[in-house]
Symmetry: C2
Subunit: 313 residues, 2 copies
Amino acid sequence: MTKLAVVAFGGNALLRAGQRGTIDEQEANVTETCTHVARLIEKGYNLVIGHGNGPQVGNILLQNQAGFEVHGVPEMPLDVCGAYSQGLIGYIIEQQLRNVLEAMNLDRDILTLVTQVLVDKNDPAFQNPTKPIGPYYTQEVADQKAAASGDVFKEDPKGKGWRKVVASPVPKVIGNRKSIEKLAREGAIVVCVGGGGIPVFYPEPKKLQGIDAVIDKDLASSLLATQINADEFYILTDVPKVYINFRKPDEKALNVVTIAEAKQYLAEGHFTEGSMAPKVRAAIYFVENGGKECIITDAGELGKDNAGTRIVK
Amino acid sequence: MTKLAVVAFGGNALLRAGQRGTIDEQEANVTETCTHVARLIEKGYNLVIGHGNGPQVGNILLQNQAGFEVHGVPEMPLDVCGAYSQGLIGYIIEQQLRNVLEAMNLDRDILTLVTQVLVDKNDPAFQNPTKPIGPYYTQEVADQKAAASGDVFKEDPKGKGWRKVVASPVPKVIGNRKSIEKLAREGAIVVCVGGGGIPVFYPEPKKLQGIDAVIDKDLASSLLATQINADEFYILTDVPKVYINFRKPDEKALNVVTIAEAKQYLAEGHFTEGSMAPKVRAAIYFVENGGKECIITDAGELGKDNAGTRIVK
């Protein structure tokens, strides 16, 4: 039976350090990542692709703020900016992957879905928003905006100013998960859950609504992999393996890790928050909830024997 | 057998005269249109929804220009701005339609697809670009930009300044048309081909690429309806029927029109360019290429007996 895999593109699949985010940069980066992902497709995998949107939605928020200042264009809320970014990034991935596959004479449909992800308004994350988004403001302007909107602003630790912060709640249900699974099992490659999905909730029964929040994209892809019963879950990053004692004299690359070991390494502080730690947590979530194995690796390693770090039961 | 229909949302489904385009305005307008569209779903139709993006992509272009001016955020080309708008509008339609259907206890999947549409680089439209897009510039700035980019700028007839103009080529192939048909025939409501689709072409074999152009959204929806073998094609607008001698003493609403009659009315200049004329042409295209009938009407008429103007063979 054909294996179904979810691949979560890392930030560097789209944008590299020092790049400003032109369309040419993003297309070239995506093409490179797709060249590697194509090896899984060549092996016959059914595939669903998730991706982040941090720098892109950051730019979109700046465009929104400037569009209002300069032209009076109404600013869109964060959930809608996330929808912009799903269109943007999904289009780039679909087009570049299509070109890569055509060059390899691989004929597969590629579909890009705008994806909403349900969160719980009672998630404790909403009591303590921590994710900074959008432009930097002076304390005075931030105070005015906070008073007018109820938004929360916090000072940047590096002193660059004050920024709005939002919650990062746990994703609960991936919108259209059944259709995503069906399409993928029928052979289509589905690009979805971009930026961790557009966070939505039910303010009242039968009424879905967007909410100011960001969902961790690895956790959302992990939930997706679980909810579509994927066999394997790949988390792409910019290192070939996960390390303990990273960048210390006794640094050690991990080949196979059980979830018990992974939890212990997490507790011992081996993995950086905001970087490797959420990826390892996403891997644990997948394997604890029925997944066979999660592979954390660099795209360049995909399809090779013993690629990356395998997190298993 | 269940009927398959394509419904092309009109501009007023999203934005009304005098509105600036806030998210609240757009959500309220879409909800109203979806309430009407739901009557077709209640009748058991399989449905694909297309939509325009004129005012939205206009705002996105202004946001892009201002984002570069104020923050140095790289400007995205028109095809990518179209992708932004598909995310934005698709998200709004999917969410509001879902809420409308849930309130009616109608259980249907709704999927929003980012859609590329193939055009021909040799389309004569590229020799004479006519569609103004984006910000107004002084003649001096427009000349500088034209020299730097090769873009074409034309003076606004009302004297508001100079704007970039792009081609409006004929759409040739709707991306993912087979998957769209399959999903819709299996009961999912598919939102796609937003803004007429993202125009793409092959600069070389096996290499798909975006191109600076806008595709007429009614024509793209008509091509979609043809290529997915839809039974009926609805073009929503802000009048209940098509009229000849519109707003003259001998104005007459049309109930049933053959394509021969429609062509004659077009030739006689009964329909305004940029408004009813492209809708009638889109209707003719559908019926001439195998469609049973096209209905041009106001959303409020949907599902009523003798609703709108029916264009038939």
